[in-house]
Symmetry: none
Subunit: 528 residues, 2 copies
């Protein structure tokens, strides 16, 4: 990492993000995302609330064994309970037990909440904040204090809200984060209140945590930073309760490209891929119209616009799409797309130059993306595609036939599922049949069995993730299906993709590519 | 209409909105939307660009025969071409022929565009603006001048940008609309530049037209209004080129509820229905997380939040959901307690009280959630579960057996998939077999066929979304599968969930619950 930036990025996708509808991560999902956030250059990653569920505790256990380059991992919780010594509070104990370098917890700033929700006294609330900060500091943690409902509290009773921040500072808090919890404040209010806090506590490091209920989550974060905040909390793709949190995929490029924080992340061009990766892991569709990272963010439909951008891109583009790893989409040939391909191929160690070959590959990819393939989370399939086009691919076997049968007897009776696979391998016909928990699992078993004699090393390969997405949701069960598979041999992991109207065929394609990729890479390492 | 509001709302859903990807309206669609916008209280409705396509001209022909209560219809176009007398310009002629009370056209403010895109001189550009305004005024129109790229132009050459506004005023323009065309400016810039324009032209009525490329379309509109703009242009649901236009479904409630423009529309509670109506006509999915109008805009998932909103709604809600015609939703998830369940049951019209019964239901839900079920997006399955526990459920049929077969010949050869369903219904055994695009689609077809004679109303039900998620991603294809189905009868929609080790069985469960729920609700409405 180069010199410390003036504003730090605090990602809470894995905690506040999961309070959004339809956002659920396993501990393993969380770990994958944490590593990508770290590689992107997030400064803090909030991993979960150890006290709230066992899944989050599992994540912190896993995280202890991992190395992160840029990011510090934070555990999230709340102040101690009212009328309980901090050292006796089991929730605070778990927060410390999570073993993270950073602890973030929230406390109440709004008198209404103190009296009506917590049902305690203003003085006890301040003591809860002070005690909890001090306890966490004494345990050697960096402490980030989230002042929940700070803006609503300030509008209601400014002196009380400020006194809760004073309590956090007395305890030794490293950051005072002003939370726009209900998401209803306007940017000029946020700016003004941040300035007042700054004036009251001149030495303190202030952060901003905003929500998008008024459609102003990003604007409020930027307004607070203009007023002196030095930390911004948010989530990838704006996941979060209700309308979501402040969207970091929007805030980061605004800071880097518009507000002079050029060095806030080491490589902003990774932003679009990161945004898609997180959606893929969450199994949520990518929002086309998302600023900066959406698939239509730089697409031009109006005739006059298309004509103008051909003459001069910045005539209808506020930034260069490549600056955030996105691309201009127009109906004509597309140079920035080719750049993406070339860069990706180089990254993989292939010696691909701009020209006939790269154009053919680009056309292939356009065609396949049009058919529903997506390569963001399927590097192995992308590499197989490259190898095919570059003449570096030989199939490991020839498929003759496969079929699956599934039978359910009665309401919850006997249930069997089997698959038959027939392949040709080294001039030999191999027929196998296996049962499985479902047609795809049965196929997986039967194919492995067919390949086992020739390739015993496949025993090491296992599937670690399997995701299915229906592409044209409007046609329901008759729509196209995209299957994304993540595999591992215990050391590396790789992703493959399959698309078909039939989920079994789509799964077969992704399964087969997963195994083929492994066999090919063993024989012929990348770029060889 | 009551007294004229201080800020007028200018809707361009039907023109700028249609430049968004996937947004297409027939002339008839446009008319339906125009009437709804009018009823809601929009002051101006831009119907299209008569010169650009015959569909827009057809709309204006239709619009001439209609009465609108609140709104004035506007036709959109551009200045005359360079070096052509305005009365000889066919595009300007069509603008007048549209026969609307209002004409809006855009001209260039940014020297870069004048020289590089229009390829004309700064003086001729000003003459084009002045002549076109004057010509339209002489034809008796109210003239709204859209100063395209005003903010970029101003940042580049402030005096030139201002001189184009002066040209519009010389021609007699009624409004000078400052366009943040590329969507990349920040709110404080928009506010400051609007103030400068105001200072230069103290008597002029200024408007703001913004885009969302930086995620700041709404914030920029509000900033300009704070600086004195008296007209805001935008689209319903933020449709528009690239990331879309300023979203009026967000701007209007912010103005009405936060910025003191209470009377800006006669009845703000119609907002959510209007937003959904426009999405329905456009055949686009409603964005769940949309501020104010989204289905999750007031939904609460976290246990501490649910507990708090039970005590006091405004503890986690920035406005009353009913103020915009939306409602509070409590999500049932593994983060929820008994409060969520009781609240949800009451919402559904069931008379459930805290006690023996509600505890049993909570245990059931916890158990099923532990097994992988998720009820956040599966209200119908949740209701079926409640009905089962409350003795209000009778299955519509008895399953005897189903089986599916799928066969793939060769690498990309013949591919067939079929399902057999055997059920007992009204003491009769019904066996059906159907082919499909995949095993689930085949099962869906076969089950519908089996139920068709007894329940012809099921023909109205279709699946609109089908999502598959693998639960324990670590065990790959042998892991548990959760299937979420969203169904609709064209009026309502409902979600169901199924979980099994086998994807086919999980899909069957969700499919069956979808159809059962529909049949049950027809027979026995909620809470009956």
């Amino acid at each position: 990492m180069s010199k410390s930036p003036a504003v730090s990025l605090y990602d809470t996708t894995l905690r506040d993000g999961t309070q959004g509808e339809g956002v659920n991560f396993s501990a393993h999902d969380k770990l994958r995302i944490a590593h990508e956030l770290d590689a992107f250059g997030m400064h803090y990653i909030e991993g979960g609330w150890p006290g709230s569920n066992p899944k989050d505790m599992e994540f912190f256990e896993l995280a202890k064994t991992q190395k992160f380059k840029n990011a510090k991992i934070a555990a999230f919780g709340s102040t101690r309970r009212a009328n309980l010594a901090v050292e006796d509070d089991p929730q605070v104990k778990m927060l410390i037990d999570a073993g993270t370098p950073v602890v973030t917890f929230y406390g109440k700033s709004w008198l209404l909440h103190v009296t009506e929700v917590l049902r305690t006294t203003p003085e006890e609330n301040r003591a809860m904040i002070r005690d909890t900060v001090r306890f966490c500091k004494e345990a050697g943690r960096e402490v980030i204090y989230d002042a929940e409902h700070f803006f609503d509290g300030f509008k209601d009773e400014p002196e009380y809200a400020l006194s809760t921040l004073a309590a956090a500072l007395e305890g030794g808090a490293d950051f005072l984060v002003l939370c726009e919890t209900n998401g209803g404040s306007l940017p000029h209010e946020v700016e003004e209140i941040t300035r007042k806090v700054q004036a009251r506590f001149p030495g303190a490091k202030i952060g901003i945590h905003s929500h998008d209920d008024g459609g102003l989550g990003v604007a409020n974060a930027l307004a607070s930073i203009r007023a002196g905040a030095v930390q911004v909390q948010g989530t990838m793709n704006g996941y979060g309760e209700r309308t979501g949190n402040c969207n970091l995929t929007t805030v980061v490029p605004n800071l880097a490209l518009k507000m002079g924080y050029e060095g806030i992340v080491p490589d902003l061009t990774k932003l679009t891929a990161l945004s898609k990766f997180v959606d893929d892991v969450a199994n949520l569709p990518h929002f086309n119209r998302a600023p900066f990272v959406g698939s239509t963010a730089f697409s031009h439909k109006g005739g006059t616009h298309v004509n103008a951008v051909q003459k001069l891109a910045r005539s209808y583009e506020h930034i260069q799409p490549t600056a955030v790893g996105n691309r201009q989409v127009v109906l004509v040939s597309d140079m920035s797309g080719q750049d993406n391909i070339l860069r990706k191929a180089q990254e993989m160690g292939f010696d691909l130059k701009r020209g006939e070959e790269s154009r053919r590959i680009l056309d292939q990819i356009k065609q396949r993306e049009n058919d529903g393939y997506e390569y963001e989370a399927a590097d192995a399939s992308f590499e197989l595609l490259l190898r095919r086009e570059l003449g570096l691919y030989q199939p490991s076997f020839k498929l003759l036939e496969y079929h699956t049968t599934h039978r359910q007897h009665g309401e919850r009776g006997l249930d069997t599922c089997e698959a038959t696979v027939k392949i040709e391998l080294n001039n030999e016909r191999i027929y196998t049949v296996e049962e499985g928990d479902g047609p795809v699992n049965a196929l997986d078993q039967a194919l492995r069995k067919a390949l086992a004699t020739a390739h015993p090393e496949l025993a090491k390969v296992s599937l670690c993730d399997f995701k299915v997405r229906i592409l044209d949701s409007k046609s329901g069960t008759a729509a196209k299906t995209r299957v994304l598979i993540e595999s591992t041999d215990g050391v590396d992991s790789w992703g493959t993709v399959g698309v078909d109207f039939n989920i079994i065929d789509a799964s077969w394609e992704a399964l087969r590519e997963s195994l083929e990729f492994y066999l090919l890479r063993k024989k012929q390492p990348r770029g060889a």
